[in-house]
Symmetry: C2
Subunit: 545 residues, 2 copies
Amino acid sequence: MRLRYILPALLIGAGSALAQETPIVHDGEFEFLRAQFGEAWDAQDVEVDAKLTEIRAANGGKPPNFLYILIDDVSFGQMGDRKMNYVMGIETPSINQLATEGMSLMRMYTEPSCTPTRTAMLTGRHPIRAGVEEVKVALVGEGLPTSEVTLPEILKQVGYNTAHIGKWHQGDIEQSYPHNQGFDWAAFPLHQQVQLSLMIPEAMRSNAMLGYVPEGQNNQFLLDERFKPYGLVTGVEAEAGGPALEVDMSAGEVWTQAKYEEMNERYQRQALEQLERVASEDAPFFLQYWPLYPLNFVYPDQAISRNGGFHADKLQLLDGWIGDLLAKLEETGTADNTIVVLMADNGLMYHYEGSSGLNQLIYRGGKTQHLEGGVRTDAFIRWPGVIEPNTAAGDIVHVSDIFTTMARIAGATAFIPRDRVIDGIDQTALLLNGEGNGRRDYVYVYEGPVLRSVVKQEFKMHLPAPGQPGAAAPTYNIYRDPREEHPLVGYSLWAGASFQDMIKRHQKMIAKYPHSEIGKGTPYEGIENLRPETELTRDVFMSWQ
Amino acid sequence: MRLRYILPALLIGAGSALAQETPIVHDGEFEFLRAQFGEAWDAQDVEVDAKLTEIRAANGGKPPNFLYILIDDVSFGQMGDRKMNYVMGIETPSINQLATEGMSLMRMYTEPSCTPTRTAMLTGRHPIRAGVEEVKVALVGEGLPTSEVTLPEILKQVGYNTAHIGKWHQGDIEQSYPHNQGFDWAAFPLHQQVQLSLMIPEAMRSNAMLGYVPEGQNNQFLLDERFKPYGLVTGVEAEAGGPALEVDMSAGEVWTQAKYEEMNERYQRQALEQLERVASEDAPFFLQYWPLYPLNFVYPDQAISRNGGFHADKLQLLDGWIGDLLAKLEETGTADNTIVVLMADNGLMYHYEGSSGLNQLIYRGGKTQHLEGGVRTDAFIRWPGVIEPNTAAGDIVHVSDIFTTMARIAGATAFIPRDRVIDGIDQTALLLNGEGNGRRDYVYVYEGPVLRSVVKQEFKMHLPAPGQPGAAAPTYNIYRDPREEHPLVGYSLWAGASFQDMIKRHQKMIAKYPHSEIGKGTPYEGIENLRPETELTRDVFMSWQ
């Protein structure tokens, strides 16, 4: 959607000079760091600016392109590392190679689930600040509100071409669609993968979705035939501001695993096509590829991985596709001035554990949980000639930092709104100067609207149960106890003192800048070719509201 | 001790020709593989022999030297890998570098505890075949029997110089000492690290050994002052067949953490000295360095690792020492013809979990357990010009394979005894030809005398409780469920059929070649300078037997 926060024309392009005059509103915890390191950071920022100017000059005045690949539901350790490849019996050579060509961000924290992680990256904010929790698979009439200013919107202000391909999961209402949130072009499923790969006959036969298909059970007492999603919009395509069209789905057609696989192949094809298109233009680009794979609940006809699980096989397939995309980037001649970021959005959905292969690895927990297994993900960033190859950084990074950092690298910091809290920290110095130059040593970890834990340095406190005193909160040393199994009761006073101060600072900033509301509306508005069954489903949904 | 199995003189040096005529007795499971692959392996062995001959010719007729470094109690993933370094906050750059210079054995299985793993490597056999279970910290009057034929004894038959430095843990009786089991020279503690680093005042003050020192508790009801080890022999040194002398310990002296640290430093110094000595001689060498670190239970004055735990810090220190040793190997000019193997003996002793940093990582369980966390260890092998650098192999290897493989590489296969089961498989083809050329797809996993699980390919069956039918045994897919948390009940019939056949084959071989007895004797015989308190302790020990 159009920017609601309009900058005076004279400021366009003024960049960091303005930013220093009107600082970004960060959380209280960051201000505590700025009080200690502000002067050193200001001095370092002069060098950072000089380096960014130099890089841009070396590229004919063009700021770097961004290729942002966000993979769904992958545990920390599942990709980019030989040792863990062997543990799981999955080969990810393309991602391993990418890891050696850039910097591995070893303490990347996300939100614990798909929608909030993606919102945090797009807006630079903990999603709860915009009322966003988790967007469900079914109809909700909710989503990312127009009032949020997204990274592609900011980048468009300084001339970027933008495109989005793949999973979106930011809501089923018009204002939330990617082509209304800063993308020139978008191809995406309206919902997510549950109805696309799990709620299908094949998944029932794989023992992953019991009784979903009527033929799979005795229906003697069945009343509500609409308990299971029906007629949902599948994949759509659109240009910015224009109408969306559902593709590859006819009235009355039944969704199948074959269609899901075709959809994945189409997105891969479109990622390649869009990359060719935006790379051929003069303007810099921001290309976002959010694959649906490895999410998949049907066994392959012939396993390609040693693991053979339905998730593992698609991850291995996807790794090859990413190799193809990076090869295409090379072919276009734009690779040298393109920053590639590849990461996962959260841990494995280990609720489907067991024989599926969706199990815990190094860290305990998984998707939906504040445990490290939910919010620690693999993350790699390549910037040829700038980021030292084959490096790694143990500094803490949060997914919202991508927003602020990419905005700065693009010279668009001035377009970050100043009327709200921005959680994302500018980590440009970390990318340019390497490990130890991060500007964050904390993360607040939410599950939906609830603050569940606080990370500071090597410690992590799980919030006490409601009504319990702070001293009852278990605190863990993440290096010594990566699985958060042995709270430091009796070994530290952190839980009762310093961590409680952190929480108070966070709450005071929320009081000063209250959360706004999630966007609301009629589902599927702006899609021109709704199928009759889709219209029926939407009408029923709206009828009782 | 001298070889009991004496070969006719004419066979000395006859090597593999003889070996083919009088095959090594392997377990039944291996014969099932040989029935399927025997012809292909025979053909491959002709090439392997040619390659070994060629390598030896290129080194003036001298077979390769061996430097075997065995590290105590380290979890799979703790060393040699950047990702896991970051997880634990421990840097192991020297070992990581070694990993890139050779092959990482990604499925190395050990026995689950120190003594049995070391026995398996020395004898090529599951230790229970010689009656060896776990040798305790205190006086036992037991140990590795003379009747076992060790790898250094075999290598001596073809002219190797041998030396052992560091942990030994094969028993407190004369026949078990390393200088009586094939080593020309040895420096080692008679027992292990528990009384050297845990049963000391400093460990009590680190909250790791409660009440060990009388001053640490009220002794109102104390009767037995000898419940805690007293007067045990600490470190000794000896030449082959000669008397041993205890070093650095006077009558009445109290053992301390400072003395433990000095002992570790001495072994490191002696490893460097012995390496210099054996490298300067014409004969090939087998040098064995088994550090006592990282076992340690006292916090450092100033942490060197990000982890800061007492185990982590010593692992990081040890990593630097290993770097020094490898640099020394380079200096001596023998690195090119030296095979370096570095591995751990079993998983972390996570019974000291919690704030210590001794916690579970990828695999569940640890030392003493048949779970993957107990028996899967990091293992790296470097052989310049022969093993492809920066490779990895997912083939299953058991620590006993080192015995058989090193014997073959040294041209000493003919000296492997044929009157007993040898569990170690010759894995030379794997080293020469890389991943996929391993000759084992199974492991029997014992806890002491009890068979607790059976690994075959990607599956692992935990044996059912006594009296339970085979079908009740939980079976796991190790790739999909590395933590062995979700047994495949209902997903496979392996437990009830094929795995039971494997166990029967194993039992039948035991019936045919029954286990022998552990060595027995009077503790400390052959040590010339026993302290009075040591003599007292020994006399009391012997008095009631």
